[in-house]
């Protein structure tokens, strides 16, 4: 359904995309993960026909995003990471306006809009002014807006950003429903676990390049054994850092306040041995614990490690 071949985008001297290639099948939910500035939004803007690539090709449903933007727009529903709403417009009128932009007849619009509001659980806000809605509600309304013309492909750029945990859960439920409806979805996030539950395939992008792609299981398999050890020191951080860095199962060590964060790839036995080593060296530790690492950060570390 989506095909990207050797896509490059340059903003002045900065290269945002460095020959990105990927393929997303019909009905697949593709999660795009990567840090800020990695190239996720640039890729999505190109797919949404809002940005011209410097070179390379991108197709949606077989249509070239540069040469056939009108055909592509009929197929896609796009939701940017930040979007505004109009003042003085109710939720129903907001959807009606966008539906009319797709040449949907007034009769059809009367049928579709209540269904969409129902889908995003906003039926009760039908006559509420859009600017009075909460951020989570606006985000759901934005999702309904991207669905007014029943597109085959949904391009969702960071749909959960800025939402509170409850709103995130609600959004996740709607996305699951859309997956069940057979939509091809490309969704980006900073947080891998957020996508893991609903994505068939995950692509990790870093510095404009797709560094890894695979099913959620494949990604998790690669991450097996990776954890972040948090060592809170009272003093002698340099000695502790040196000791940790020398350990062959520690990939890297970072200092965060008075806590040392070590990316550890060893077994539980090796972890116990490391703790004993630190204690034997007489280093003043206040605590030694396994931290909850940001999964995609760890994954990026793995990929970088594999690369080097």
């Amino acid at each position: 359904m989506i095909q990207i071949d050797n896509l490059r985008k340059r903003y002045g001297k900065m290269e945002a995309l460095k020959g990105l290639s990927l393929e997303i099948g019909k009905g697949q939910v593709f999660g795009f993960v990567g840090p800020n500035g990695a190239g996720k939004s640039t890729t999505m803007l190109i797919l949404a026909t809002l940005l011209e690539p410097t070179s390379g090709k991108a197709y949606v449903g077989g249509f070239d995003v540069v040469k056939q933007p009108r055909e592509v727009r009929r197929l896609i529903g796009y939701m940017p990471d930040f979007f505004g709403v109009y003042d003085n417009v109710t939720a129903e009128e907001y959807l009606d306006f966008y539906a009319s932009n797709y040449d949907i007849s007034p009769q059809e619009r009367k049928e579709i809009i209540p269904q969409l509001l129902e889908l995003v659980s906003l039926s009760h806000k039908r006559d509420a002014f859009v600017d009075s809605l909460s951020r989570g509600m606006k985000q759901r309304l934005g999702l309904a807006r991207s669905l007014v013309h029943n597109p085959d492909v949904l391009i969702l750029d960071e749909p959960a950003s800025g939402l509170d945990p409850r709103a995130r859960i609600e959004l996740r439920e709607i996305l699951k429903e859309l997956r069940n409806m057979g939509k091809t979805i490309i969704i980006s996030s900073h947080i891998l676990p957020e996508l893991a539950e609903m994505c068939d395939v995950i692509g990790i992008i870093e510095g404009g390049e797709l560094v890894a792609t695979g099913s959620v299981d494949e990604i998790y398999a690669k991450m097996q054994g990776y954890k972040v050890l948090k060592v809170r020191m009272l003093d002698q951080w340099e000695e502790a850092t040196a000791l940790l860095t020398r350990h062959d199962k520690v990939a890297s060590v970072k200092k965060d306040g008075n806590v040392l964060l070590a990316d550890f790839t060893g077994t539980d036995q090796e972890q116990a041995a490391l703790l004993q080593q630190l204690a034997a060296a007489g280093l003043p530790m206040a605590s030694f614990a396994e931290g909850e690492g940001n999964l995609e950060e760890i994954f990026l570390e793995i990929v970088k490690g594999a690369g080097s």
Binding site: T49, Y78, F83
Partner: protein
């Protein structure tokens, strides 16, 4: 049915709906007519000076006064109304979403342009009864009234299209508004300044060449001045600098190449409108054909 559907502009309909929903539109109309009506009625009252008779010349004066006042208001308000229509969408972060819909760039630009001007057109139309009062006393031809409204319309459409162009080019609405006002000022002052310079140059050449006073001056400086809104505004009332045109017309000796400044102005503003809108339509497309190769 299909044609109507194709001509239907959702942006225009939505803007109308939203704009006319609040009480503001009614208040602005009331205030506008009160101010304009107040000035006109005061003027009439002062000029009649408690006399029972009414001089058509006074009526003509009031008509001129009202027309120039309204023309000034159009020039003052149009840039402010139009110069934020696209940059405002960009600032509100609604433009990218609009551009991914099936809405064509042409419909988007035309919808925004007409929506922003329609309120001004509505205000001008609402002022027609005021002209009716003045018209009652005579001294003005219906042609002049039509010409004045034609002048209003093309000036509004032209200035509005320039506002839309700056709004498409600039990211910030403030910058766009300032540039549109700067354009209006530079254009009005510029055409007048160029006319004065051209006349001075011609006079100098005539003096140097010792030309006979009866030898006619070239007409092109007047063509240049025909592009000036104020000069054309006065020309409608047979006032201002186009004396040669009026004299020749009155004598019935008007040569074919001496085009009425009013029509030159209309033609230029129609071209300005089309050019500005075409450029805006081209520029708003996120992915567009290059006019030249890099």
């Amino acid at each position: 049915m299909n044609v109507i559907r194709k001509l239907r502009n959702p942006v225009l309909i939505n803007e109308w709906k939203v704009r006319m929903r609040s009480n503001r539109a009614a208040w602005v109309t009331t205030l506008y007519l009160l101010v304009l009506g107040g000035i006109v009625l005061t003027f009439i009252f002062l000029r009649i000076n408690f006399e029972n008779r009414y001089d058509p010349d006074i009526s003509r004066e009031i008509f001129m006064f009202l027309s120039i006042l309204q023309f000034g208001m159009i020039c003052l308000f149009t840039p402010g109304l139009t110069a934020g229509v696209i940059s405002g969408e960009r600032e509100r972060q609604t433009l990218s979403v609009l551009l991914t819909t099936n809405l064509t760039a042409t419909k988007l630009i035309l919808g925004k342009w007409l929506a922003s001007l329609s309120f001004m057109i509505y205000l001008v139309m609402a002022s027609l009864p005021l002209y009716g009062i003045v018209f009652l006393y005579g001294g003005i031809s219906p042609i002049q009234l039509v010409q004045v409204f034609g002048l209003y319309l093309v000036t509004m459409l032209g200035l509005g299209s320039v506002g839309v162009l700056f709004s498409t080019l600039m990211k910030r609405t403030g910058v766009s508004i300032v540039l549109t006002y700067a354009f209006l000022f530079a254009y009005t002052a510029g055409t007048f300044f160029l006319y004065v310079v051209a006349q001075e140059m011609i006079d100098y050449q005539r003096r140097m060449a010792n030309l006979h006073a009866m030898q006619p001056n070239p007409v092109w400086p007047e063509w240049l001045l025909s592009l000036n809104p104020l000069a054309v505004g006065l020309h409608v009332f047979e006032e201002g600098v186009f004396n040669r045109f009026h004299d020749l017309k009155a004598a019935g000796n008007l040569p074919f190449w001496m085009i009425d400044p009013y029509w030159l102005y209309i033609l230029f503003f129609v071209l300005l409108t089309i050019g500005s809108l075409e450029l805006s339509i081209y520029l708003i497309k996120p992915v567009r054909k290059r006019l030249w190769k890099r």
